[in-house]
Symmetry: C2
Subunit: 355 residues, 2 copies
């Protein structure tokens, strides 16, 4: 007990390191206890000696020696929304490529718990952080002593990977317009404020509608990601639309496949199939869009690629910091990926398929 | 750089620790470098001093000092299956209660990558491991130098938390029998072998059918968790059942809500609603069973409770190891939770609801 994991046969002592490097034991001890009191060159010599002497299996010693934990923290707002669970899935699968290991936290909008968690991770010398939750402003995240990359959230002061949401809104509205919908409706959530990337979906939708002079409407529903609450708020919307626009061809663009699936199910339960006067487009291309009773057309986020980009930006910034004399770029990197419109049965149905 | 995160104001040196404890600096250095060379009592004095001297924020030093990383590794086979993403969700949410942080790995049946990952985690002194993947036998897991708890997988040599799958099979078959189904069909996957807890579903189903002399059939489908492959294999089964048992009332017990949802969707697409001659029961009570176009009756696993139990068994065993003179219980703990039958619309429909 007390010692690190059972590689007793090869316990490397301060003596061994001193002999190997030619430094005194006091210097070695200072290296472990207060590395800043040594020159960078001497730190490097000792750090290299630790590797040579096969400290390899004792990662904790390595961490002490060079601060490299190979840990990345990941904060997701929740795992109920299929978009987040799929993004997490893809992030975790970069292990094979980069070897970084992920400490995962589900935020559930508990601002203080999230702060505490981040502070804990910092105390463990994690090297970087991927944030998908909306809780903490990027101004606060930017002050953390490690690189931070956000995905699809407010990102003014930190690096980020986002989908071109504006283009997504344009694609969705254009597709519904091409299907000759007489009223275009965009359903989004009350928390989609202008500083969030997802606000671009609204702007893109509105711009196309105004440009093409299309009859349109924007509806906000509860931001809750709890299924029953999503269902309740969408049921109210569905009831109203189905009555008010009866007889008109309705093009429904729902922000998020999880909600698009709920809307679709309400329709199927009432009519048994997708009525001819409805066209539905979701957003995300999360698994539920394929698993739905009728596969849902969706503005696809390139989730796998976004996850890979987020980790790759982070790895680059983390590697920069490991250089002996790091030149840190202070400019946040914002990478924006094109959405890919995926046409499935909720738009390409009935007579129009034959076109 | 090299030092832990920016709490420079309070850097505790070997000198400070030596003065505080009355030991020589050499002894302090030995404590960090080869703690086993000190008596347990002296280790304890120094370890306590580190806490008193507010090494609190420097977790890496604490890890070196006492081996407590507060990290738990979690291995899930995949995150496509809604059961696993929900179990992971619930495990991660125990952070608020226990403070343990989770390193998460998605196995995808890559046996060697999984082994490598575990070895890496061990080198980082993680304290415990929760395994949901099927890849490594429990005999191998039991040899790891840390406590392991499995969930719903082969668990002969390690501690585990499982659902009473046999009781679940009994509940499902009995419910379908009560609805006067003329043929009871259980769909399970080819990898459900007798050493897996899920095999109990088959035994429970068969025992009830034989006891009540019910017309029944067991069908195995591909074990793949890739949606398109699940869909394909279930489509074949659906086509056959719908033809062969035409006119008979069919009770379908599908192992896993993810598959039950696919089966239900095939029915809805063909008939527009759930036909009177079909009753469906899933297993898991994973979110998809509620989000389905028709809410699916299911043998509910108490996912939140199972996650909590798994972490709690692990915490207990990890705490045991931290005692100065640990008495390790070598007997694996197997905790079995009762399934809870949840009746929703895929069974409680039509005239029978009125009973």
């Amino acid at each position: 007990m007390g010692s690190t994991n059972n590689n007793k046969k090869k316990k490397v002592t301060f003596d061994d390191i001193a002999k190997y490097t030619g430094f005194s034991k006091t210097t070695i001890s200072r290296y472990f206890n207060s590395p800043d009191s040594l020159t960078l060159d001497n730190q490097e010599i000792i750090s290299n000696a630790l590797v040579d002497l096969d400290y390899k299996e004792n990662k904790v010693a390595r961490i002490l020696a060079n601060g490299k934990t190979e840990f990345i923290g990941v904060i997701v707002p929740n795992l109920q929304n299929h978009y987040y669970s799929e993004m997490l899935n893809r992030i975790l699968q970069t292990y094979g490529r980069y070897g970084y290991k992920f400490l995962v936290f589900v935020g559930n909008e508990q601002e203080e718990t999230e702060r505490q968690y981040i502070q804990e991770l910092l105390a463990y010398n994690i090297e970087g952080l991927i944030v998908m939750s909306f809780t903490l402003p990027s101004r606060e995240l930017a002050k953390l002593p490690i690189p931070v990359v956000t995905i699809e959230r407010e990102d003014r002061y930190v690096s980020s990977v986002n989908t071109d949401n504006y283009m997504g809104g344009v694609q969705a509205a254009s597709l519904l317009a091409r299907h000759n919908c007489e009223i275009l409706i965009h359903i989004n959530t009350t928390d989609t404020t202008p500083e969030r990337p997802a606000y671009g979906r609204i702007r893109g939708f509105l711009d196309i509608c105004e440009e093409k002079k299309l009859n349109h409407r924007l509806i906000y529903v509860s931001q809750s990601d709890i299924f029953e609450e999503m269902q309740e708020s969408l049921y109210t919307v569905f009831q109203e639309l189905d009555t008010v626009y009866s007889g008109m061809k309705k093009g429904i663009f729902v922000s998020g496949d999880t909600r698009a699936n709920i809307f679709l199910n309400l329709l199927i339960r009432k009519y048994g199939s997708l009525p001819d006067d409805y066209r539905i487009v979701g957003f995300d291309d999360s698994p539920i869009s394929r698993e739905a009773v009728i596969p849902i057309s969706t503005v696809g986020q390139q989730i796998e690629k976004m996850a890979y980009e987020a980790v790759s930006i982070l790895v680059e910034q983390m590697e920069d910091r490991k250089k002996r004399r790091p030149v840190l770029s202070q400019e946040p990197v914002h990478r924006v990926l094109a959405p890919i419109l995926i046409r499935r049965e909720t738009t390409e149905t009935g007579e129009e398929t034959k076109k």
